[in-house]
């Protein structure tokens, strides 16, 4: 049987969800027998190919992240969101209550250690969006594994559900937002 192809992206997040995935310990050996990781921070492959499952960690806070997420959506049959950032906005969304210009000024000019700071601007770097969004506010998301980071067992549960051909919904006792 052909392996299930998976692509993962790491957007505005801390990589904690990917770390938590690697924390599934020996279960990764069995998983590797049936799953092939294509584009992913884990494989360091950068090109998208059509896959069965797309996985997104992190929220969407700038134009590049928006583009990557849309591309992932276009290449996958099922899209799964990992972690509070992708599911809800998470810690990254702290900036959303503030004005974008104010955030950039505070970060690049008014930081106590900055001398003659300059706000980086496109096209050199991607432009910040006005607000940080969870993945489902940008593209259609099929299933979610919230948590900051999600427990390895929750990630494994969701992957096994997908492998069994079901769209996973975490049971209440696996749900966590922190």
């Amino acid at each position: 049987m052909a392996k299930v192809k998976v692509a993962t992206v790491w957007l505005e997040g801390c990589s904690g969800c990917h770390m938590s995935f690697l924390d599934i310990d020996e279960a990764i050996i069995d998983l590797a027998k049936v799953v092939e990781f294509t584009r992913s921070p884990i494989t360091d492959i950068k090109e998208f190919v059509p896959v069965d499952v797309g996985i997104v960690e992190g929220s969407v806070g700038n134009t590049e992240e928006e583009e990557v997420l849309k591309e992932l959506r276009a290449h996958c049959k099922t899209l799964m969101a990992w972690g509070d950032c992708a599911c809800f906005g998470g810690v990254c969304a702290m900036r959303s209550t503030f004005d974008k210009e104010e955030v950039l000024r505070r970060g690049y000019i008014e930081t106590e250690s900055t001398d003659k700071g300059k706000i980086p601007c496109p096209p050199g770097v991607p432009a910040l969006l006005d607000q940080v969004k969870p993945a489902n506010h940008v593209v259609k998301v099929d299933c979610y594994v919230p948590g900051c980071p999600p427990e390895p067992k929750a990630i494994l549960y969701a992957l096994n559900e997908l492998l069994a051909g079901r769209i996973p919904v975490l049971p209440s006792d696996m749900m966590r937002f922190d």
Binding site: A93, T97, P134, C143, Y144, P146, R176, F177, D178
Partner: protein
């Protein structure tokens, strides 16, 4: 109450007339999600999570506000209702900032728990991200409006249970938010920092600085106890983790003495004074230095034995703080009066006891402290006279009861106090006598009340009347600086009321004049209901266990040991401060050339720095003990945390010293 029968989810269930549909569901084990509902406060149907379908109602209705009736047919759980509930949760999550990873209350949040229960793994609606303030101005509490779901629990608790009604909604619609008074910062408002709002807040919108990030309730052990700080004796539930007090809650806010105040709820968590963890002995250079406890006890015993032999038993005096437990005080009394054999024993607040008891004895020679009534009487009163007391500061739960009675029961509130008083908003009449004229003011009020009331009465009433035959209300009012009309109006209120209560405190007691207390008692008799015997009066005693110490006879009823140490030729002083923080300035006796001073205390202070030997005392949370409330109920506290090994219970130390003294 009439029983009613309803059909819920196809099953017949019983309820009582007057129940809401939610009451009936809860009584029958039907679990409905709620956020704005809370035990002890009214229901408003704000969160809509408890919506149910009722036959012949066009729309789902909130169960918490729908009156249960005979014959109602109700659906509480079906696909449609569960869909609505999840939708409401999503709306709540997107309205403000409810990202748990950023929140101090994550893990202790009812909104979060419900989202888990409803498997709410995403929010479909756009976030509105309003820029809302965080109000950290108050010493103990923070209101983070970004976390608020506008359930109004805090507001109704502040109004209906605590009574001060500092919090309410401000603005309208989209801009609706919880505000203090007329939108003051919390620290500048009428808030009394009782923390009830913090306890009922279902999210992280109101949190306490003393508990934040110390641990989640689920990780804590919960221990029931009683607060002993001020003598009201409120029930508490302490959350303890790794031998550290994390949080103090009320086990039931709506129950008797269940409100708590800032002292009980917060000050126990972060005490500002430096603890004494080891015994200290003054060395040959005159400096206090740490010593093993057994050695310090030995040295103290040796010196006390020596002084006893040289100058006699009565050269050693013992003075205790009434903050100590009954157990500590009992052991102390035995130590001073039996082991040492000295007659000289007193409490720091002994002068206040003598003032009260002499005042009571002038009123009736056989009367004792137990003629005082209970705190709960405040809530039954229709007229309250507060004389020289500021209970919102000194005994905040008593203060809250007074405000509750004034606001909810429409009790008339009369204040006699030359000083500023925090009841300003709720007072009907504020009589401000000139300083030093309190006694006359009371007698003039007494006379005015006698004039208003019926001429018939008991012998006691007649005796009081004859003693005031020379008092003239008009003349007297000029002398004390109070408008005669105010006095007459107060007298009218007092004589018309059916259930009066008189509360007096510091302002009266500081005068050290028993006459004031006699006058207040006489007033209580004049306005009291003759059928119920005792006059309804309470004194607000200064320390957490004053009543216990006085009832156990630590303070001499007639003679002040505190003041007359030099007169009595005292050479040594044994001071039991326990966990009371006392400054040397409160104890002038420390300066009077003692040869030897032992201080047993939990905290370093200017008082301990005068000692030759300092012995460590545990704080109340480290030992279980008995304490008497100011209205004379003995309550037991539990041990909440362990002290370090070098700290022994007070009674144990007295036992050890006694053993050494008896051997010699």
């Amino acid at each position: 109450m009439k029983e009613i029968t309803l059909t819920i989810n196809g099953k017949q269930v019983k309820g009582k007339d007057g129940n809401t549909v939610l009451d009936v569901c809860q009584a029958n084990g039907i679990d409905l999600p709620t956020l704005c509902h809370h035990k002890g406060i009214s229901d408003v149907g704000a969160c809509r999570l408890c919506v149910v379908e009722i036959e012949r109602e066009r729309r789902p209705v909130p169960a918490c506000t729908y009156p249960a009736r005979d014959g109602l047919v109700i659906q509480t759980h079906n696909e449609k209702l569960e869909k609505y509930r999840r939708l409401i949760l999503e709306l709540l999550f997107t309205e403000r900032n409810h990202l748990c990873a950023q929140c101090v209350s994550s893990g202790d949040c009812e909104l979060q728990s419900l989202a888990y229960k409803y498997q709410m793994d995403n929010a479909r609606y756009p976030y509105s991200w309003p820029a809302l303030p965080v109000d950290p101005v108050n010493d103990y509490l923070v209101i983070d409006h970004n976390r608020c779901i506008l359930c109004g629990r805090c507001i109704r608790t502040c109004d209906e249970i605590v009574g001060v009604h500092t919090l309410d909604f401000g603005y309208r619609g989209w801009k609706d938010m919880v505000i203090a008074d007329l939108n003051q910062p919390l620290g500048k408002s009428s808030c009394i920092s009782c923390g009830a709002c913090f306890q009922v807040c279902p999210t992280g919108a109101i949190f306490s600085k003393s508990s934040a990030y110390k641990g989640r309730p689920e990780e804590c052990q919960k221990i029931s106890s009683v607060c002993q700080i001020c003598g009201v004796g409120c029930k508490i539930e302490a959350l303890v983790k790794d031998n550290r007090l994390i949080r103090i809650d009320s086990p039931d806010l709506a129950s008797n003495r269940g409100i708590l105040c800032h002292k009980g709820r917060f000050t126990t968590l972060d005490r500002k004074h430096e603890r004494i963890n080891t015994a200290l002995v003054r060395n040959s250079h005159g400096k206090l230095e740490p010593s093993p406890l057994s050695e310090a006890i030995n040295t103290a015993a040796k010196k006390l034995t020596e002084l006893k032999a040289r100058y006699g038993n009565n050269s050693i005096a013992g003075i205790a703080s009434s903050q100590a437990s009954n157990e500590s005080l009992k052991a102390f009394k035995e130590f001073i009066t039996v082991t040492i054999g000295s007659k000289l024993i007193d409490t720091i607040d002994g002068d206040i006891y003598r003032t009260i008891i002499q005042g009571i004895n002038t009123y009736h020679d056989k009367a004792r402290l137990d003629i005082e009534t209970s705190i709960e009487e405040i809530l039954k009163a229709d007229c309250i006279l507060v004389a020289g007391a500021n209970p919102l500061e000194s005994h905040p739960v008593v203060g809250a009861y007074i405000v509750l009675a004034a606001r909810q029961n429409k009790a008339k509130l009369i204040v006699i106090d030359p000083a500023q008083n925090s009841f300003a908003y709720h007072t009907n009449i504020w009589l401000k006598p000139r300083e030093g004229k309190e006694a006359l003011a009371l007698n003039v009020l007494l006379k005015a009340t006698l004039d208003k009331g019926s001429k018939k009465g008991s012998a006691q009433k007649k005796k009081i009347a004859s003693s005031l035959s020379n008092t003239n209300v008009r003349q007297g009012s000029e002398q004390v600086g109070i408008e005669a009309d105010d006095l007459l109006e107060a007298a009218e209120m007092l004589s018309k009321a059916r259930r009066n209560i008189i509360i007096y405190g510091d302002g009266i007691l500081q005068n050290k004049s028993p006459m004031l207390i006699t006058s207040l008692l006489n007033l209580a008799v004049i306005v009291g209901n003759p059928s119920t015997g005792n006059p309804r009066i309470i004194s607000l005693k200064p320390k957490g266990n004053s009543r216990g110490a006085w009832d156990m006879g630590l303070a001499n009823p007639s003679q002040s040991i505190m003041k007359n140490l030099t007169l009595n030729g005292v050479k040594a002083l044994y001071l039991l401060l326990a966990d009371d923080y006392v400054e040397a300035s409160e104890l002038p006796i420390l300066h009077k050339g003692m040869e030897f001073i032992v201080v047993q205390s939990s905290y370093l202070s200017s008082a301990t720095s005068k000692a030759n030997i300092v012995l460590p005392s545990p704080i109340w949370a480290e030992v279980g003990g008995k304490y008497s409330t100011l209205d004379g109920v003995i309550k037991s506290t539990s041990r909440l945390i362990k002290s370090t090994d070098d700290i022994k219970a007070d009674a144990e130390i007295f036992h050890e010293i006694s053993k050494h003294i008896e051997k010699k």
